[in-house]
């Protein structure tokens, strides 16, 4: 547990650093869902930096997967059907709510945005209700 917490703190600090790099160089919020949605349907002049950021995420994931495959172990027993439903909800919800864990949860809260604080409380509480509910329905994980 202590190891998990230290890793979470280290990883979280790096996420804060990445968001700060995006802010000081490009003047942008690092919201993954927003960057992705904007890349898909947005202004073409903005596709370049959006695509580069998304490529960075994929490349970072690729190398971390090579170096530390243990960090990508998926022992959750969620069925693929549930994963598809989850993906649909996350895609629709993050666009409708203008953000996810990164844009609202990290960047928005860091600048004391009331919208982001509310959004974060709503998605964490809802996520907890759903995950806890599933645990009682199906016996967890």
């Amino acid at each position: 547990m202590v190891d998990s917490i230290l890793m979470a703190l280290l990883g979280g600090a790096l996420i804060g650093v990445a968001a700060s790099i995006m802010l000081i160089f490009n003047g942008r919020v690092t919201g993954i869902s927003g960057i992705l949605n904007g890349f898909l349907g947005g202004v073409s002049a903005e596709r370049l930096w959006r695509g580069a950021f998304l490529l960075g995420l994929l490349v970072g994931g690729f190398f971390m997967g090579l170096l530390r495959p243990d960090l990508f172990l998926n022992t959750s027993a969620r069925s693929l059907t549930l994963i598809v439903i989850a993906g649909l909800f996350v895609g629709f919800g993050t666009v409708m709510g203008s953000g996810c864990t990164s844009g609202h949860g990290v960047c928005g809260i860091s600048r004391f945005s009331v919208r982001s604080i509310l959004a974060t409380v709503v998605f964490i509480v809802t996520g907890m209700m759903v995950a806890t509910g599933l645990k009682f329905l199906a016996g967890g994980l």
């Binding site: 979280g12 898909l40 994929l58 996350v90 990164s102 009331v114 509910g133």
Partner: protein, 145 residues
Amino acid sequence: MKHYPSQAVMAFVAGVIFAVGLALSGMTQPQKVIGFLQLGEGWDPSLMFVMLAAIPVHMLSYRWIRGRRSPLLDTRWHIPETKDVTKSLIAGSLLFGIGWGLGGFCPGPALTSLGAGHFTAVVFVVAMLAGMGLHAVYVRVSGKN
């Protein structure tokens, strides 16, 4: 003053660091995310510390960076100015929370795991893109934004 290529380079660097942070933090292991969201016996609070580290780091840098007149590679800031708490904000966050609790994936970790070649993440990302597409259809049909 346009700096598109250099903006892309820095966005790429930020993306790589973000992915490394997500992987180290435990966010790319759906069972850990679910362990955090699933209250009761065996609750795993460790992922709470991801935000508890990311927010103070970015809070401090944000104040310092926004003291500048403009970003280094652009002429102006692109920070959302909206203050209105709308129904879409709340309803959308609620729907996102449902999906997060069901799958244990949010967008960043899903894309990072996709980069690492994980099949479940591929399935999730395809469904997430479809969800974003459905929202575009919903906006067109309902006329709402």
